[in-house]
């Protein structure tokens, strides 16, 4: 129950407080440049919005159906975390690391609460066979 609530809350976080919907909408609003293209943030906002409003919520919400069978969805969130970290390093943008830290905390909470930890989280125990 707590796991599902967290998934929903995390998805809602990125859509709202995480500026997902507003950035996506501002990018899609045609004519948002007001004739001053140099200062327009439309495309850049939409690029971030695509991550915060599509990729991250999709990753969290698809876990709601069957956590153990949707491991790729959480791997998707891990990939987004890595992408933000890479962006922080390449663009020298310290704010990206706040996104990285936020996602890391969310993943840690989900790992803690996960009712049936998907194989991604569970180390495989190799079966050792003796040939004696």
């Amino acid at each position: 129950m707590g796991y599902r609530v967290c998934l929903a809350l995390f998805a809602a976080f990125w859509l709202t407080i995480g500026f997902g919907m507003i950035d996506l909408a501002s990018g899609l609003a045609a004519g948002s440049t007001d004739g001053n293209d140099v200062l327009s943030t439309g495309v850049l906002s939409a690029a971030y919005g695509a991550i915060a409003a599509i990729v991250l919520p999709a990753g969290f919400l698809s876990q709601l159906r069957a956590a153990s069978r949707r491991v790729a969805a959480l791997q998707q969130v891990v990939a987004a975390t890595f992408a933000f970290a890479l962006a922080g390093v390449l663009a020298l943008d310290p704010l990206s690391f706040i996104s990285v830290a936020t996602l890391a905390v969310m993943l840690a909470i989900l790992w803690r609460l996960s009712p049936e930890r998907p194989p991604m989280w569970r180390p495989r125990v190799a079966s050792i066979r003796c040939s004696r």
Binding site: G27, L44, G49, A50, I54, A79, A91, S96, I98, S99
Partner: protein, 129 residues
């Protein structure tokens, strides 16, 4: 559009799009390091501005590769990559001269790729979803 065919169509489609995305990402990163306008939006504690565009570039490629590995639930990253590419392409077409825009032609190509990738993902056997 017809779905791509072959032994590993999702991987092939991802490989096809990787180079343009990575070149785009490096270019956006250079713009960010140079501090070109528009500046980062004030009062937001998340990544944004140039860094958001830098993050999107490798993420689309990573999601495509993740889908190609056919891990359980692979359709989520497949459709997410396609949707993100579609949105980026659409916004680039709507704002061809804005900072971060790939322009109308590359925007159209991004949309075309997302449509083919979606069609291919939908036609692939779901496996253990």
């Amino acid at each position: 559009m017809a779905p791509a065919r072959g032994k590993h169509p999702l991987f092939a489609l991802t490989a096809m799009t990787a180079v343009p995305w990575l070149i785009y990402g490096l270019e956006m990163a250079a713009n960010g390091r140079a501090g070109l306008p528009p500046d980062e939006q004030a009062g937001r504690p998340q990544a944004g501005g140039w860094a958001g565009a830098v993050a999107l570039a490798p993420l689309v490629v990573l999601l495509g590769l993740l889908a190609a590995t056919k891990t359980r639930g692979w359709r989520t990253p497949a459709l997410s990559a396609a949707a993100a590419s579609f949105v980026f392409g659409l916004v680039s077409i709507l704002n061809p001269d804005a900072p971060g825009s790939a322009g109308a032609i590359w925007g159209a190509l991004a949309i075309g790729w997302s449509v083919i990738f979606t069609a291919t993902a939908v036609h692939e056997p779901a496996g253990d979803q």
